[in-house]
């Protein structure tokens, strides 16, 4: 296997270390809006692309970080398989490296798990300019610390992802989407009750006084759930638009907050339209008022992120207490002692 793109990236990292110059790592740049802007030498990884190995019988795919999500999903679909965490792809250039680095998952998150749950292993360039490898292509691995999962969601601040092995799953045999007209409080209560039962509810969305759910399973399990739940059958087109955030709600020129809350949390008394996903666990709101969203979510046992902002913000992600922040900085120090990888993308000093 030719690995010249990995070597080129390694050389760039080694040069950055020698010159103590930070790097701004990106591939498709489709998630540039997410997190603080980075001042650094551009470090594009999109050329490091391609599917390295795909074994449908093993339910594992290994890809280079610059591989486009669309290419991976098409390849998997040919074998009736999928990335079960339904990663958002913000445009055609969205890559798997950006997807893992951002740690964003789609509508099925509460049912199937997060992108992090599906990362089996990775090869990366560390802060010493070495190419190192963690985890592997097997489903379970407890040899040493789980560094590959640490990379997921770290927004490129701990190293450059080169290759990633992911667990994939078969596509569901049957799918049905249902709509229920109900107010937000009733919808939260209903989805909470249903999520506590062994029903194949793979996605849910509460918006505009409607509860939408998706059932994924065998035909008889879907049919059985439908009989139990009732509701009006709708087409499935809502889910990809929600996954890829193509709905008008996500396109508005306003600050967009993403709140992670205990799923049973009562409706938030906030003005404006909201979208609630993940059986109540993820709530999207447009908010530009005085309310301190970080304090609000913290008081409710959750956390928040200023997902899209129209201007520079002091805090994008939930502020951490001193002890945890110190430990996060220490973890960064262990992985990237010179502080060259995407400095400040998540927090100052990371």
């Amino acid at each position: 296997m030719t690995d010249h793109t990995a070597r080129q990236l390694q050389q760039q990292v080694q040069q950055a270390i020698a010159e103590q110059q930070p790097l701004n790592i990106f591939a498709g740049n489709s998630r540039a809006f997410y997190g603080h802007p980075v001042a650094g030498t551009p470090c594009p990884v999109a050329d490091h692309q391609g599917i390295i190995d795909y074994q449908p019988a093993e339910l594992v795919i290994t890809v280079k970080a610059g591989t486009r999500l669309s290419e991976i999903e098409q390849t998997l679909a040919e074998h009736n398989q999928m990335l079960a965490f339904e990663p958002p792809a913000f445009n055609e250039s969205s890559t798997i490296g950006g997807c893992v680095a951002a740690g964003l998952s789609g509508p099925s998150r509460a049912f199937s798990g997060s992108v992090r749950d599906f990362v089996l292993g990775c090869r990366m360039i560390n802060g010493r300019g070495e190419i190192v490898q963690f985890g592997g292509q097997v489903m379970k691995n407890v040899a040493g610390y789980d560094v590959s999962r640490l990379m997921a969601g770290s927004l490129g601040t701990l190293g450059i992802l080169l290759d990633i092995s992911l667990k994939v799953l078969p596509r569901p045999a049957s799918r049905l989407s249902l709509k229920f007209d109900m107010e937000e409080a009733a919808a939260i209560k209903s989805i909470r009750q249903w999520a506590g039962q062994p029903l194949p509810i793979s996605a849910s969305c509460i918006m505009q006084e409607q509860l939408l759910i998706r059932l994924d399973s065998t035909p008889s399990a879907v049919d059985s759930a439908r009989q139990k739940l009732g509701g009006e059958i709708i087409d499935d087109s809502i889910w990809p638009r929600l996954q890829h955030q193509q709905m008008d709600f996500f396109q508005q020129d306003k600050n967009l907050w993403r709140l992670s809350l205990p799923p049973a949390t009562a409706p938030l008394n906030m003005p404006g339209e909201q979208i609630i996903e993940w059986h109540g666990g993820q709530r999207w709101i447009h908010h530009e008022g005085e309310t301190d969203i970080f304090a609000l979510t913290s008081s409710l046992g959750g956390h928040a992120c200023l997902y899209k902002t129209r201007s520079r913000a002091d805090n994008i992600f939930q502020p951490l207490d001193t002890q945890l922040m110190t430990l996060q900085r220490n973890t960064k120090q262990a992985m990237d002692p010179m502080g060259i990888f995407n400095p400040g993308r998540i927090y100052r000093g990371l």
Partner: protein, 458 residues
């Protein structure tokens, strides 16, 4: 032991929470490996504050600290090889909050896995990790090892089923990582880093666990095959159909021979056996079972048996349950490894293990979680036979070489501890191990937390 250190501990804990008699300390030096080391002092904290103060004292006096639950681990990870202080969580065993509305339970680390399952079951839930020792092992131990069990094939291990941890780092700082939400990560995912780190990064003082709704009912299926190759093909075929089973266990021909000798009704031509559980309700359950039966009928399939009620299911699992007593009868102190290989490489692994068994004249019996390639490799040795023990070590070395050659991993759920620590370099290079040491140093600058475990020296 430094008397000043003793005095510091006595300021933190009342006398009844400190054990200093040798006879009392003795029982805290074992786990389920063949190792033992005597700790200098044993403490039984009741609160997180006490844990933090003790860790701080150990940090200040540079005293080694080994945390333990019930000592059911098999790798020596809780054996205090440097003496020092053992912190037992047997008295931090409360369920703090059962939150049915948000499908989670918050517990202290000394709560057993079974207590969690019972509390969850009252609300129609379960916690996915289900190690064989569930009745005895603690949640703290489960998290330290990232333990799993048969259900991991569908629901994952501790890392996928833990929402929040409270823990104390090697400097005595209390941290909280993760949150009570579906998406539980702010900044770096330290929760998963701590889970599986075998008490080397931080001491877990409280865990919030994700609960899942229990299925209404289950079907258990048993399939036999004329070769390991055929069984492995069936595993791939079963895993490729959309409804993942909640257990997919296997036994090799030597395991089958053993249970036959103990009266199990397994035909003589069977060289491998799969046990599969599917779950659901009503007609959907039968459809799921039918899909598995169809997928399992690959070339080389011999026989199918389906249990339709709890009694019949128990009969099928009886075969599996007979295996462990049979193994213990032959070799009470067997070496039990748990390696992982890609499913399609299971036949090559079993063939290689049979060759090693013949070469070293050590019976090797294999069974385990076929759906995720996690195989329990049992070397039936007699530890009193020094020559056999010496050849067992060499044989084990070859077993691990074989696993790495087959793109596998040295451990899927038992962990590394001391038993596998010196083999880890086969799987991780020097740069990887150096980076892990760098992480450890940031959590535990004086290297007091379970030093010598998990990571080989640089």
């Amino acid at each position: 032991m430094d008397t000043a250190f003793h005095k510091a501990i006595k300021k933190i804990l009342p006398a009844q929470q400190i054990l200093t008699d040798e006879a009392e300390r003795l029982t805290y030096g074992y786990d389920n490996s063949r190792r033992h080391a005597l700790p200098d002092i044993v403490v039984l904290p009741h609160t997180e504050r006490q844990v933090a103060d003790i860790v701080k004292a150990c940090h200040d006096f540079k005293v080694p600290l080994t945390a333990r639950g019930r000592g059911t681990g098999t790798t020596g990870a809780t054996v205090p090889v440097r003496g020092g202080l053992v912190m037992s969580f047997e008295q931090m065993n409360k369920i703090i909050n059962m939150d049915a509305a948000n499908r989670m339970i918050t517990v202290e680390p000394g709560v057993t896995n079974q207590q969690v399952q019972q509390a969850a079951a009252e609300h129609g839930f379960f916690w996915a990790p289900d190690p064989t020792s569930a009745a005895f092992c603690t949640v703290g131990g489960n998290l330290a090892y990232n333990s799993a069990g048969p259900r991991a094939v569908k629901y994952g291990s501790c890392r996928e089923n833990t929402l929040e941890l409270r823990a104390v780092t090697g400097t005595g700082e209390i941290i909280r990582c993760g949150t009570h939400t579906t998406k539980g990560v702010v900044g770096y995912d330290l929760t998963r880093l701590i889970i599986g780190s075998e008490g080397t990064l931080a001491i877990i003082t409280q865990a919030t666990l994700k609960l899942l709704p229990k299925a209404e009912s289950k079907y258990t299926l048993k399939f036999t095959y004329n070769s390991m190759d055929a069984a492995a093909r069936a595993v791939s075929s079963i895993m490729a159909q959309p409804d993942t089973p909640c257990a997919l266990e296997f036994m090799d021909s030597r395991a089958l021979q053993l249970i036959r000798e103990n009266g199990a009704d397994i035909s003589a031509d069977a060289a491998a056996l799969l046990m599969v559980e599917v779950e659901g309700r009503g007609s959907a359950l039968q459809q799921a079972a039918d899909a598995v039966i169809q997928a399992a009928r690959v070339e080389g399939h011999l026989h199918t048996e389906q249990a339709r009620n709890a009694e019949e299911a128990a009969q099928i699992w009886q075969a599996r349950k007979q295996l462990s007593p049979s193994l213990r009868k032959i070799a009470p102190k067997k070496i039990n490894e748990d390696v992982v290989v890609p499913v399609s490489h299971i036949p090559a692994l079993i063939n290689g293990l049979n060759q090693l068994s013949d070469q070293y004249r050590i019976p090797i019996v294999n069974f385990g979680h076929a759906g995720n390639g996690n195989i329990h490799v049992n070397l039936l040795i007699n530890p009193d036979d020094k020559m056999q023990m010496a050849s067992a070590q060499e044989c084990l070395n070859q077993v691990f070489d074989l696993v790495i050659k087959l793109d596998g991993s040295l451990s899927g759920e038992h962990g590394v501890g001391l038993e596998k620590r010196d083999f880890i370099y086969k799987e991780l290079g020097a740069a990887e191990i150096r980076l892990m040491h760098a992480i450890k140093k940031q959590f535990d600058p004086h290297n007091i937390l379970n030093a010598d475990k998990t990571l080989p020296a640089l």
